[in-house]
Every structure is written in structure tokens, then in C-alpha cells.
């Protein structure tokens, strides 16, 4: 028994080392696929949440005991163009069997792009006991780990209605305007074509585009997916990330940084990288992003 416990502790340490070896400021914000595999049954303390861009992926197979949270269906208020209110967040958590003490483990497709978005929304409501499974769905599948179509059912929880605090991690247009006045650093995480203004309209989808192409003046361009390894979808090491965000884009840790993209989803990934992996204290995600700024009257742009 003691030997088994020692083995388990050794495995835990090895998994921790896999993350800590990358030199992150907050390695506790990530867990490995192996860690998740070993905690699948601990549904009292953990809840695994899949959040994808491809909304049907969960239905064709997901990590055992994972629940699905869809940004469009669950976290979004399309009428207000905002996120769900505290009452609905509490209801969503209760329905998924999540309490304020539950550690939520996010994973998803597209290198955890939507997983970090869901995590960011959770933090608006102060649910800070959250981690991301490094490598996401891509790594889990590549390692041949178990998938199921069985949708788990958990006892309903009693999640108290939280307070929502947008100020710390969310930027609105007026915040960006003030940020520009003091020449604060911005990072545009869209593709180079979107950043330069070359890509603007999408045929038959004018509602998704913007009247103008380009970027917010002074913004550096670091496409969001540069933060992950192409082979397994896991995050690059802190050293590699610093080279990209500080060496190339000129950001630095003590600054107040605002990240943006088209509607704030890709930039939530960069927000996670800067805040947890590189330890930036003051990073905000501008979810209005280019669909707001690019259309706003007299909002200055660069091309």
C-alpha cells in the first residue's frame, strides 16, 4: 500500500515536472493529459469541461465524465452582446454539478482556443479554481486515450449567485481608448492578413465583418496559435513564449496589456498565455475586438 502511494506520488511529481520544466510563472494553471486520465473518476472534486469551436465534436466522442459547455449556447447573451448574467451562470454551474469549490479542468479543440475562452468567462464570475489540460483534445486523441459518447449525469449542485467583475480581465472600447491615450501596449492576435487589412469581407457574411480593415494603432501582431506547438498542441515553453511576446512583439511583464482579435475568442487564448504562463499581472481581453473597433465611427486605425 505504502509502495503504491509512493508510486502515485512519484507519478504526480513526474507530471508536475512535465509542466514545471517549461518554466511557467503559474504552472498550477495547467495539468497534463496523464493527470486528467488519473482523475477521471474523481467527479466530486473535479469537473472536466470540453469547450470546442466544432460544436459536434463532443457528441461524437469526449473524455469520459467530461461535460460540454458551449460558448454560443451556454455563455453568450446574443441579444445584449455580452456574457451570461450571474443568475444564469449559477444555474449553469448547478446543472453541471459544479460548486464554487470544484476544480474545473478545461480542454477543447483548436489548441484549447475555446477552452481558454470558457475559462476566461468563468473568471468573470470569480470561479478561479480552473485549469487547462495542456495539449487539449488534440493531444488526448493523439495519445490514444479513452473517448466516449456517453453523456455523464451528476447530482445537481447548489451554486450561489456570484458577483461578476469585468474590470480586472475585460476591456471595453472606452478602456481601449484610454489605453491608446497613454500609448499602452496592445496585441492583435489575428492573422497577418486581418491585421494588415488585406482580409476584410467574407462573402454573404457582412454581419461578421467590419467596414474597415486594419488594426488598432500601435498594436503588435502575434497570431494566437504561435503560443502552441504544432506537433501536439501543447503550450510552448516560457522561454519560447518570451521570445515571441517580448523579443518580437515588445511586451513586458510589468505593463498593462490589452489583447484583441475579432470577437475576443482567440485573444482569450493569448490572455491565458500572458497571465498564467508568463505571469503578467495586468492583462485584459477586449472582446468587442475588431467587430466593434473596425466598425466604430472615428475610431483610429492603422494599416
Amino acid at each position: 500500500m505504502c509502495a503504491r502511494i509512493a508510486d502515485m506520488l512519484g507519478e504526480e511529481r513526474a507530471m508536475e515536472q512535465e509542466i514545471t520544466a517549461k518554466g511557467y510563472a503559474h504552472p498550477e494553471a495547467l495539468v497534463t493529459t496523464q493527470w486528467v486520465a488519473e482523475h477521471l473518476e474523481d467527479t466530486e472534486n473535479f469537473r472536466i469541461v470540453e469547450s470546442d469551436e466544432d460544436v459536434l465534436l463532443y457528441d461524437i466522442g469526449h473524455i469520459p465524465n467530461a461535460v460540454k459547455i458551449d460558448w454560443v449556447e451556454d455563455l453568450n447573451d446574443p441579444i445584449l452582446r455580452d456574457y451570461l448574467d450571474p443568475e444564469h451562470f449559477a444555474e449553469l454551474m448547478s446543472e453541471k454539478g459544479i460548486t464554487p469549490e470544484t476544480k474545473v479542468v478545461f480542454y477543447g479543440d483548436k489548441n484549447n482556443w475555446w477552452a481558454t475562452y470558457a475559462l476566461w468567462v468563468f473568471q468573470l464570475f470569480g470561479h478561479e479554481n480552473v485549469v487547462v489540460m495542456d495539449g487539449g483534445r488534440k493531444k488526448w486523441e493523439a495519445e490514444g486515450r479513452p473517448m466516449t459518447q456517453e453523456v455523464p449525469s451528476f447530482p445537481r449542485a447548489d451554486y450561489p449567485i456570484p458577483e461578476r467583475d469585468d474590470a480586472k480581465i475585460r476591456a471595453f472600447k472606452q478602456n481601449v481608448e484610454k489605453h491608446l491615450e497613454k500609448r499602452g501596449p496592445l496585441v492583435d492576435v489575428r492573422s497577418p492578413g486581418e491585421y494588415s487589412g488585406e482580409l476584410l469581407h467574407m462573402p454573404d457574411y457582412p454581419q461578421e465583418g467590419a467596414l474597415r480593415g486594419g488594426h488598432i494603432p500601435g498594436a503588435a501582431n502575434v497570431p494566437w496559435a504561435r503560443a502552441v506547438r504544432e506537433d501536439d498542441g501543447s503550450f510552448k515553453s516560457a522561454g519560447e513564449l518570451r521570445e515571441i511576446y517580448e523579443g518580437e512583439a515588445g511586451l513586458s511583464e510589468g505593463e498593462d496589456v490589452i489583447a484583441y482579435c475579432r470577437i475576443g475568442e482567440r485573444s482569450s487564448h493569448t490572455w491565458f498565455v500572458l497571465k498564467y504562463l508568463l505571469g503578467y499581472e495586468n492583462v485584459r481581453n477586449y472582446d468587442g475586438s475588431w467587430t466593434e473597433w473596425g466598425n466604430a465611427v472615428r475610431a483610429p486605425i492603422e494599416r
Binding site: E53, D54, V55, L56, L57, D59, I60, D70, V72, E73, P78, R190, S191, M202, P203, D204, Y205, E208, R262, R266
Partner: protein, 143 residues
């Protein structure tokens, strides 16, 4: 059709897309969507006689709904022998119902990406024909 059945049909089309690939000799290649958000497709259209459609194909990348629904609409148009006018008259809501509203949920734009791009391809073809033949002389394809 149950939601699970709707998903099964979509996944089958996603894994075995109909009319996928570049269409050699196409009159129009029309891009649509956004690879970074939902999906993108290129619809290739070759016109037939008297406003008809001789052949269609698509290439693309993106989520299951956008790619599968594109495969579905191309299959429907070609199997039913729809004309360009009939394609332009197709109703988006009715198509989403056919695809499966329960499976699609609020991703209706993903589901109609193929159809909307196909309509754009038809309009582009007609515009190009008009520019090439502004006095209305009959074109070789009659389109």
C-alpha cells in the same frame, strides 16, 4: 429525425464528403466563410445550358457542420437537377430544417455557409456573363 440521427448524417457527410475537390474547367470558383471561425469553403461551378448547372464541387476546411452541410447542399442540387434560378430561390431556414435544426443549434451560419457561397457563385457567374456580354447575346452555355 432525432438529434442523434441528424448528427450521424452530418458526421457521415463530413467523413465522406460528396463532390469534394477542385473542379477542372469551372466557370466560377467562389470562396466563402472564414477558416478561423466555423469554416471556409470554395464552391466550383460549371454552368449548363439554359440556366442549368452542369457540375459543382467544393473544397474547404472547418467544423463538421459547415463542411457536411456543404456536401449535403451540393448533393441535393445535383441530384435534383436544380437550375441557377432554383438555387437562388432556396430558403435558408428550410435548408437548416433539412440538415437538422436540433443538431445545428445556433450554428445556423455554419450550416448555411455552403448554400450561401453557392448562391454567391451563381451571382458571380451571372455577373461575369453580363460583363462579357452586355448586350445580351446568348452565351455558349445559355447562362
Amino acid at each position: 429525425m432525432s438529434r442523434q440521427r441528424q448528427i450521424a448524417v452530418l458526421v457521415e457527410h463530413y467523413q465522406n464528403p460528396r463532390h469534394q475537390g477542385v473542379l477542372e474547367g469551372a466557370d466560377v470558383a467562389m470562396p466563402g466563410g472564414n477558416a478561423d471561425c466555423g469554416g471556409s469553403v470554395v464552391i466550383y461551378l460549371k454552368a449548363g445550358e439554359e440556366g442549368g448547372i452542369r457540375s459543382l464541387s467544393f473544397t474547404g476546411q472547418g467544423d463538421i457542420i459547415s463542411q457536411a452541410a456543404t456536401s449535403l447542399i451540393l448533393e441535393q442540387v445535383l441530384n435534383d437537377g436544380l437550375t441557377m434560378d432554383e438555387v437562388l430561390a432556396l430558403d435558408y431556414d428550410a435548408f437548416v430544417d433539412n440538415v437538422g435544426r436540433e443538431a445545428v443549434g445556433s450554428r445556423t451560419r455554419n450550416a448555411t455557409l455552403g448554400l450561401s457561397t453557392l448562391k454567391s457563385a451563381v451571382r458571380k457567374y451571372r455577373k461575369e456573363m453580363l460583363l462579357a456580354d452586355p448586350v445580351g447575346e446568348p452565351s455558349p452555355n445559355g447562362g
